[in-house]
Amino acid sequence: MRRFLLRRVAAVPATLLGVSLMVFLATDVLPGDVARTVLGREASAESVAALRHELGLDQPVYLRYLHWLADFGTGSWGTSYTLHVPVRDLVLDRLGQSLMLASLAFVLLVPVALALGVLAGLGEDTPVDWVISGVSLALGATPEFVTGVVLLVVFSVELGWLPASAQTSPGDGPLVILSHLVLPATCLVLLCTGYVARHVRASTVLVVASPYVRAARLRGVSGAQLVRRHVLRNATVPATSALGVQLQFLLGGLLVVELLFNYPGIGALLLASATAKDLPTLQATAMVLGVLYLAVVLLADIAYRLLDPRVRLDGEG
């Protein structure tokens, strides 16, 4: 385990460098003159050139990359071209907002998906299974903006129970904030539940059919004990890796859901800065999301290995 951990953690800086290079190159060769974007169409050629020099855009690419990397590493992420606020505060604030939404979704997702998956797996090929499997298949295949639109039309437009926008005003109480978060969080949960529940179901079916469960049955172990002792653990271990995959979906889902519900999160910021060619913001947002993603994947991988004693601890990463 220690060897695996060391190897994985040692790989993080290299991956991060790769991510940063990719972010930098993609943003650096974006079409369009940044200086002109900042100054507007009417600006004179001299002032554009001056700004280019000020921003260091006339330097060679590798120098700019190294400067940028050094700046990023030391925490000076620059000022947003469009919002004219320090990028670091902006990105971290938005990150906090997104983490709140994502955590809420994750907390709802795990128990629901596990319960549904185990339930369907235990009742393989019964009506319970058909309903759970069918619904989770459909939900897992449907983009979150589709479910989101349906939820909005039903609960916000027709019934008027919940606000259509997730944006809250400062000073709102926790209940109000929660009411704004319910719809976007549900949207994320619906998408991921389907996928995770299906994984849990598949592994539950395998465990139930396994010789060790049959052996326990032949020893007279009761159904409830079988589930508690053998099925739950063995069926949820593979689900951990499914959850890891889901975190990527959750990340993509954040973009969509934040856009749909006008939520001031980091996904919406990524989109807005990409569309506006707000380079410092775009770079910082992409980097922060990349780091977050790597950390989460690493955690899921470690959790999986901790849970399953069979996985070769020094095997393929």
Binding site: M22, L30, V256, V297
Partner: protein, 274 residues
């Protein structure tokens, strides 16, 4: 109490229904000019926000365009982009996976390292960056989606190839000196066919998902396209006023992805059984 070895077949209507839905959208995509009641781009200011009724079965949007016509015409962008993206990714992934699995050695190592690097990078961020870089157009969309899927296809095909190549029938072929191309084409390819088929349908569903989502994010089809994802994004500003303009394309996407998912699921069961 005992484990059922033969799962009873699911009710047939599900299968027939899904196939019918997919077929209907394919017909729309192919022949929409002959099917639509109005020109999808025809703006009729008098009809703005007209609710569903006898003239406009599904109502009209903020330009007074017929929602039904745009819905029928909107099947084409996604049904061109998604199958192409799935095809490109499955073709490239199958070739890479088969070769990497059959050759092993440095080639395998190189391919897997490269793919690991791609996989570790969050696809959606890459898509945002690349489309911002290359601009919005159908070919870019196909390339970005296919590029994101190639590592996944390659991994499955390579895993299946590694299982097959250790089997004695492949070793027997190596012992009698079959050349590499013969090993790959004669021995391995027919036996990873099931994996390729499942990958193809899975990636088709995922590609529809991805194409719709990217369009919704404003990263897909060029502006003004009747594409479903773009329509949802454009019309959501008038959600409170004219919910049908948002609901119709959203449900269209939903029906297509769910139908494809059900078909994929059935195919996977069928292959898993044999």
């Amino acid at each position: 109490m005992a484990v059922a070895t033969h799962a009873p077949r699911r009710p047939g209507p599900v299968l027939v229904g899904s196939a019918a839905v997919v077929a209907a959208w394919v017909v729309c995509a192919a022949f929409w000019p002959h099917l639509v009641p109005y020109d999808p781009d025809l703006q009729a200011p008098a009809d703005r926000f007209l609710p569903p009724g006898p003239d406009h079965w599904l109502g009209a949007d903020h330009y007074g365009r017929d929602v039904l016509s745009r819905l029928v015409a909107g099947a084409r962008p996604v049904l061109v982009v998604a199958p192409l993206a799935a095809l490109v990714s499955v073709a490239a992934g199958t070739a890479l996976g088969l070769l990497a699995g059959a050759v092993r050695g440095w080639f395998d190592g190189l391919v897997m390292r490269l793919l690991d690097a791609v996989v570790v990078f969050p696809v959606i961020i890459a898509a945002v960056l690349f489309i911002a870089l290359l601009g919005r157009s159908a070919p870019v969309l196909v390339l970005v989606i296919a590029a994101a899927f190639v590592p996944l296809v390659t991994r499955s095909v390579r895993a299946a190839t590694l299982v097959e190549r250790e089997k004695p029938y492949v070793e027997a072929a190596r012992l009698r000196g079959e050349p590499l191309w013969s090993l790959v084409v004669r021995e391995l390819l027919p036996n990873v066919r099931g994996t390729v088929l499942v990958e193809a349908t899975t990636r088709l569903g995922d590609a529809i998902f991805a194409a719709a989502t990217l369009s919704f994010l404003g990263l897909g089809q060029p502006p003004g396209s009747p594409d479903w994802g773009s329509s949802v994004a454009d019309n959501r500003l008038w959600l409170q006023l004219a919910p049908w303009t948002v609901l119709a394309p959203a449900l269209a996407i939903g029906s297509l992805v769910v139908a494809v998912a059900l078909l994929t699921d059935r195919l996977r069961r069928q292959l898993g059984r044999s």
